[in-house]
């Protein structure tokens, strides 16, 4: 990255944190009991920081310019010690919905030729100029986030309606780039150990299902399958699976019959395995397993900036996510800046369309311009 771009980004980050540090610190529950970490502008992670007060937080921000600011999901007795001396007390339950983990979400991909002499950009896996291999670059925009919103609504429905978690116990955030975070910071769930969290993860993602093992005709898995049948019947392409789903559809008014029909599928192991795989991929919700189950996990701090996108991790209301461009809401400024773009297909950022661009200077929202520079798709940031 050019030195001038590094300076531009440093100034962007410093200005934001100077204005927002007190609001940010106020968002964090029990900040003094968490481990904090900073991803420095040069990419170095500084961990095991203890921030007991707003003053110490301000001092920290005067010493570092955070490209990423994180706190632990866990509350510790000794947050600044090494992991094995921290003494964990409780851990927030955090769901990370990330476009990368969702088979149903289509992400935009750009390719850059690995041959340095060529370095051509494009939308093919093989360089169209020299034929060499390329490096894949994932680009997120409003369209990608809109797809993740659908998953967010499914997850929220599962948490509130099925698991009975009260909405007031959850905080929902746009993650700052590729999706959403749901934090549960109170209640008995915080006492769950890692194995219990793996079980919760399996329930959300529907990993490891075997529909023939359901214990009751009203079992969650069976109910979910029957509820989603109209969609599944549209999605399914495999003829054998379609036949099974149609049969379930015919029997659905008599749960007992569905239950027995599914038990009978045990006689055809191959078909059962296919059905189980289809259920996981179609009905499971793709949360990041590591974020949910790792008790020593660090998570981006609410209201901090995502180092790559320059967007804020803002709180959102799941009930009205469809009404707004989340990216638009998460931009810290309305400033547009000049940037040289190597290549970018058309994207939607903050409700506005940009591109396509090919080797040209253009004016972009500051966050998008920074994102392009961080992805290696742009350079030479400047105020017009």
């Amino acid at each position: 990255m050019k030195q001038s771009d590094i300076l531009y980004i440093k100034s962007y980050l410093t200005t934001y944190y100077h204005r927002s540090y007190d609001k940010l610190f106020g968002m964090i529950k029990k900040p003094e009991m968490r481990e904090w970490a900073i991803l420095n502008i040069d990419g170095k992670m500084i961990r095991h920081l203890h921030i007991p007060s707003l003053d110490s937080f301000r001092d920290l921000l005067s010493n570092y310019i955070p490209k990423g600011l994180y706190h632990s999901a866990s509350y510790y007795e000794h947050p600044s010690e090494d992991m094995d001396l921290k003494h964990r007390l409780k851990t927030d339950v955090i769901f990370d919905l990330d476009a990368d983990h969702m088979p149903r979400v289509e992400i935009k991909e750009v390719y850059k030729c690995k041959n340095e002499e060529c370095g051509e950009y494009g939308d093919r896996e093989k360089c169209v100029i020299c034929g060499d291999a390329t490096k894949k670059i994932i680009v997120v925009d409003d369209v990608v986030i809109d797809s993740v919103k659908k998953e967010l609504k499914r997850l929220v429905k599962t948490l509130y309606d099925i698991l009975g978690i009260e909405e007031s116990m959850t905080k929902v955030f746009f993650s700052g780039l590729r999706g959403f975070h749901i934090h549960i910071e109170d209640g008995p769930l915080l006492d769950m150990d890692d194995i219990e969290r793996i079980n919760l993860k399996d329930f959300i993602t529907l990993d490891d299902v075997d529909i023939s093992l359901v214990r009751d005709e009203n079992a969650f898995l069976l109910s979910r399958l029957i509820e989603e049948l109209p969609i599944l019947l549209k999605e399914v392409s495999d003829i054998e699976l379609k036949t099974v789903l149609k049969k379930i559809d015919e029997l659905k008014d008599d749960r007992k019959k569905v239950f027995l029909f599914i038990k009978d599928l045990r006689s055809d192991e191959e078909l059962l395995a296919k059905l189980n795989h289809f259920i996981t991929s179609s009905l499971g919700i793709g949360v990041d397993p590591a974020v949910l189950t790792d008790l020593s996990r660090l998570i981006r701090a609410p209201l901090s900036l995502h180092g790559r996108s320059g967007l804020i991790k803002i709180p959102v209301k799941p009930s009205n996510v469809d009404d707004v461009s989340i990216i638009g809401e998460a931009m810290p400024t309305n400033v547009k800046c000049k940037v040289y773009i190597h290549y970018l297909p058309q994207i939607v950022w903050g409700g506005e369309e940009y591109g396509p661009f090919y080797r040209e200077y253009t004016l972009l929202p500051e966050s998008l311009a920074i994102y392009m520079v961080n992805l290696g798709l742009g350079e030479s940031l400047s105020i017009p």
Partner: protein
């Protein structure tokens, strides 16, 4: 017919760990010394414990003298504590949790619910569409079911209602059995002092039951250690194949702990990572030393279980994993070595 006091003692015999039973024990106007002055109590407790350790079961009945049965249970607790042997503690807990569960299977629903609440569960008796269920909050279900090995103990196989897992009596009692085990263990731990005469009987008992304590052959270190990658589980082979692409935190952690267990030195492991485009020897050394317990709190991390590896997302289970129900990567090495030999 039993009188009201007898009924209280019958409850206490069936569920000696219950809050009501412990209150009854404290209310007995007789000291332990007085009880032990009748040698037959200690003798009967010894015989009963010996039977439990030998047979691994207890017939779920209540004698004509429930007071005596109840007191004898608590003398057994003192004996088990005096023995201080993990296998004996486990066997005792296992047998008594099954003993109580047998009664619970026939108990009135209200009593089952009450007992569950006394065990600290937020269980509710729920009538859903005319079906009577025992409802347990899902997080308590996770806590109690996590040690049950049957595959069907997964949340999605059960009906759910506003965060409650709906269980029939059989499944609910099975979960309660796990809660009973926890409570029995707490009772054992709560014993601080054991009277001398009980300790003496315990030592004699230990000699009598030695033959019933399984002598498991401890697997030798060499059973697990090998540098032959062919013996490594598929998850580790996958990580080794992908070192060059850069591994995430959990993956690095797993690989370092595994390789160290296989006998690779710290420096050998560090050099294995010297294929990544952004290899930083100082940082790698710091991380490896941390995992090996050479830094910080000096805790040497062990190889994570298969369950954790699945959650990390790099489980690549092969036929051996499935056939031998491998639950830990080191078990795979042990099995594969024997398989190939």
């Amino acid at each position: 017919m039993f009188g009201a006091l007898d009924k209280t003692f019958i409850w206490a015999v069936k569920y000696p760990f219950d809050k009501k039973s412990i209150e009854l024990l404290s209310s007995l106007e007789i000291s332990l010394e007085e009880i032990l002055s009748d040698e037959s109590f200690l003798e009967e407790a010894r015989k009963k414990l010996k039977y439990i350790l030998k047979e691994g079961k207890l017939i779920p009945t209540v004698s004509q003298n429930p007071y005596r049965d109840f007191v004898i249970f608590y003398i057994q607790v003192l004996l088990v504590r005096a023995l201080g042997h993990t296998y004996i503690e486990r066997r005792f807990i296992e047998v008594y949790s099954k003993f109580s569960s047998s009664f619970l299977s026939r108990e009135d629903e209200g009593n089952v619910e009450e007992l569950a609440k006394n065990l600290g569960l937020s269980a509710e008796l729920l009538n859903i569409d005319g079906n009577l269920y025992f409802g347990v909050p899902f997080y308590e279900f996770f806590k109690l079911s996590k040690k049950l090995s049957d595959k069907y103990w997964k949340l999605y196989y059960f009906p759910l209602h506003k965060g409650y897992v709906l269980l029939n009596r059989k499944n609910f009692v099975r979960l309660l059995q796990e809660a009973i085990k926890v409570r029995l263990f707490e009772i054992l731990l709560s014993v601080e002092n054991v009277p001398e005469e009980i300790s003496e009987v315990a030592q004699k008992l230990l000699k009598e039951v030695e033959e019933f304590i399984p002598k498991t052959r401890r697997r030798q270190e060499g059973d697990f250690i090998t540098r032959d990658v062919e013996n490594y589980p598929p998850c580790i082979k996958y990580l080794l194949a992908n070192i060059g692409k850069g591994l995430g935190h959990s993956a690095r952690f797993t690989l370092v702990a595994f390789l160290n267990t296989m006998g690779y030195s710290k420096d050998e492991i560090i050099q294995m990572f010297n294929v990544t485009p952004d290899f930083n020897e100082r940082m790698t050394r710091y991380q490896v030393e941390h995992i090996l317990g050479l830094r910080g709190g000096k805790t040497r991390y062990s190889v994570p279980s298969c369950r954790k590896i699945v959650s990390y997302g790099f489980c690549k289970a092969d036929d051996i994993c499935k056939k031998y129900t491998i639950l830990h990567p080191l078990k795979y090495v042990y099995v594969k070595k024997r398989y190939r030999e």
